[in-house]
Symmetry: C2
């Protein structure tokens, strides 16, 4: 951290300090700043209070090379960011006609009239660059106070994230990191079914990473880790990435920001094929993840949540004696479930999950976390795999769901199901 530029994040909003809503800015911005090479000294949340705001912004400007202010850009009197930034940076606000015209046009395009209070959103500190908002109304802005760069972003996460990635990073990078580092010098990748500590160790122990100036950052989002490799040479970043693919397989390490359900959806859509799902321990989660995607009805025939043994027999014709002899959590039953799906539905692909999510129901041979998944593709056959997941009920269920989506993708693409966890 010695020669790293320092950063402070300052989130403004009484709805945050009173705990009405959850602040997701610190995670998003913190991970991005790490990847950009910054050392974030502090991330501070304060109420909509001008005195506290002034004091915190002044302290942040004095101690950091980059200060990011989030929130407080709305049209109400509570929204103080413009005024406080203008005061601390000695950059009086001016009314930006171009912003106003665009706001008016956007409202009228939706058949609405803009309220006069919105004029406030066209005020910008003199000398600051305007950052357009492609999602919502309030633009952001970027400027300097002495040695410190100040960036103001809107509070709604969708607006903030888009503006940060598309508008702010290209302007921040040349300033701090030299012009040679552009967005082309970033490799974004996703790690699936790899524990964070294992990925971190793999990166730390990587030769190409040790020998190069490549930096990495990771962001844990549910059951995947999005990581970025930044800086250094293109060759080095590629090498580190391909080392990880070699170690964990190309199902679990992929380029880009990959969501497993979406990835499966794309394969099915491309082939114009449909999937049917049978879920026991995941209780509907696999179906839920797939139908989170707009347009998933094209590829999702339907599913059966056969939670009870009776429903496995009744809906999927899993033989009752098989449930008795092999047990509900077994290769035989998982296989019979996916077979039942292909027999009773017109889907081309079927995936079945049966396992012990806990906390009860484990045994020495089949401890909590034991999960069998069968994925079957009509023209090819099946992949059937046992998993042993760790963690509580929720973790086991989520990991099982991701494994089911990946196994379905493997059977469709003819890939080896290299999915050890």
């Amino acid at each position: 951290m010695g020669d790293q530029p320092t950063s402070t994040i300052l989130s403004v909003g009484t709805e945050l300090t009173e705990g009405t809503i959850l602040n997701t800015h610190f995670r998003f911005i913190g991970a991005e700043l790490r990847g950009l090479g910054f050392f974030t000294r502090r991330a501070v949340q304060i109420p909509d209070d001008p005195d506290i705001f002034r004091r915190e912004l002044r302290a942040a400007v004095e101690s950091s090379a980059l200060v990011i202010v989030t929130g407080g850009l709305g049209p109400t009197s509570d929204d103080l960011t413009r005024e406080v930034v203008a005061e601390i940076c000695d950059a009086p606000l001016y009314f930006d006609e171009a912003i106003w015209d665009e706001l008016v046009a956007r409202y009228s395009a939706r058949g609405r009239q803009i309220a006069p209070t919105n004029r406030k959103q066209a005020l910008i500190p003199t000398g600051f660059q305007v950052l357009p908002n492609r999602v919502g109304t309030a633009p952001g802005f970027l400027g300097e106070s002495g040695e410190c760069m100040i960036l103001a972003l809107p509070g709604p996460p969708a607006e903030l994230e888009q503006m940060f990635l598309l508008e702010a990073i290209p302007r921040i990078q040349p300033h701090f990191l030299g012009a040679q580092e552009t967005s082309a010098s970033v490799l974004t990748a996703t790690a699936l079914m790899i524990p964070e500590s294992v990925l971190e160790q793999a990166l730390q122990g990587n030769d190409a990473a040790a020998k190069s100036r490549v930096r990495w950052s990771t962001r844990v989002a549910h059951d995947r880790i999005v990581f970025t490799l930044r800086g250094g040479e293109e060759n080095d970043r590629r090498r580190i990435f391909s080392d990880l693919v070699e170690r964990f397989g190309r199902v679990r390490v992929r380029e880009g920001d990959v969501v497993p359900s979406n990835s499966l959806y794309q394969v099915l859509k491309q082939r114009n094929e449909r999937i049917a799902i049978a879920e026991s321990c995941t209780g509907g989660l696999v179906s839920k993840l797939l139908t989170d995607i707009p347009g998933s009805s094209q590829v999702f025939w339907g599913s059966l949540v056969t939670y009870s043994n009776e429903s496995k027999t009744n809906l999927l014709q899993v033989p009752a004696d098989l449930l008795g002899s092999a047990g509900a959590v077994s290769a035989e039953v998982a296989s019979a479930m996916s077979e039942g799906l292909l027999r009773h539905t017109p889907a081309e692909v079927a995936v079945a999950v049966t396992g012990i999510a806990g906390p009860e129901g484990g045994s020495p041979e089949k401890p909590v976390g034991t999960v069998w998944i069968s994925a079957r593709y009509r023209p090819v056959g099946q992949l059937c795999k046992r998993f042993q997941f760790h963690g509580g009920r929720e973790a086991v269920r989520r990991r099982s769901a991701v494994a089911a989506l990946l196994l379905a993708e493997c059977v469709l693409l003819g890939l080896e199901a290299d999915l050890e966890y």
Copy 2:
């Protein structure tokens, strides 16, 4: 905020500032502190860096009546909270034999041996009270530095939340708020299917609230709002609560921290009855929420995610001509779906959801957000209701799922389904 005690929250951990994990402490503690009558001036996240930690803790102690430090209580050398609190409060660490003995006993009960590095977790600043950890290993502690009370809590949210509610609040309250305000002077309640702004207006416009010293705080958690009424007289709190029940109905406003899936589960379990579910637009979410509950297999027979029309006909025998004439999103089809469930399964209760989650598929008569839900109870009959939800695909799906759980509860309990949104 004039005479309110002030508070600062300080979260320690490089995994937070680098954005590897999401900080949920500020929301939880912020909402609780608001309910306790505190004004939270700042909530700060810092890396595991002793210099930054000392500076921030000193500043917090000087400016607040209560400082809550979260994280940094683990056994590794990165975990600095004990050392820094001891230094700033001039309260040297001592080795607490009782804590150590309990740690050793807990490990050996699980057949594991405790590592010597864990001895660190038995160090406590002299003069501080120990707060037992009922979930994990690291105890918290509470003490004073001059006028300021300092509370240290472990980082894992499950440990932190339990310790804060059960151990910290009873010790903080008498100190700041006078002995008369005890946990008995809190009414915790849950608002379901009520927008936050509507609840806030109802509280602000409430006569009993205006005339009393009752304070409220709200915490938005997915599709419910947990709110607390604190202070004032028991009668006032009861009056405010019953006003809300009168206005929104007793299905949507309930005492305690109520989760809809859990509430339905309790009713089913008590009656020893089972539910079957048919989901279209929710795509498995209703089933997922119900099976999140350990032991739900007792009450959940299974479900059919009939996303395509074909699967509605094939699995639930919804007549194809009904799908053509009334449309998949209609009272007729919702009703036929729940009827199909009761015909084909042994469940006593059936709930069916069909709707348009969007973004595509809306029409002027049935815009995106139109959802029909039918809940059927064998001995009684059905409740069938149309909902018009606002928001994006995810919001419509989540709200539909909550409505389905509540409607099932209504039909079971013979309650009026007063569920306008």
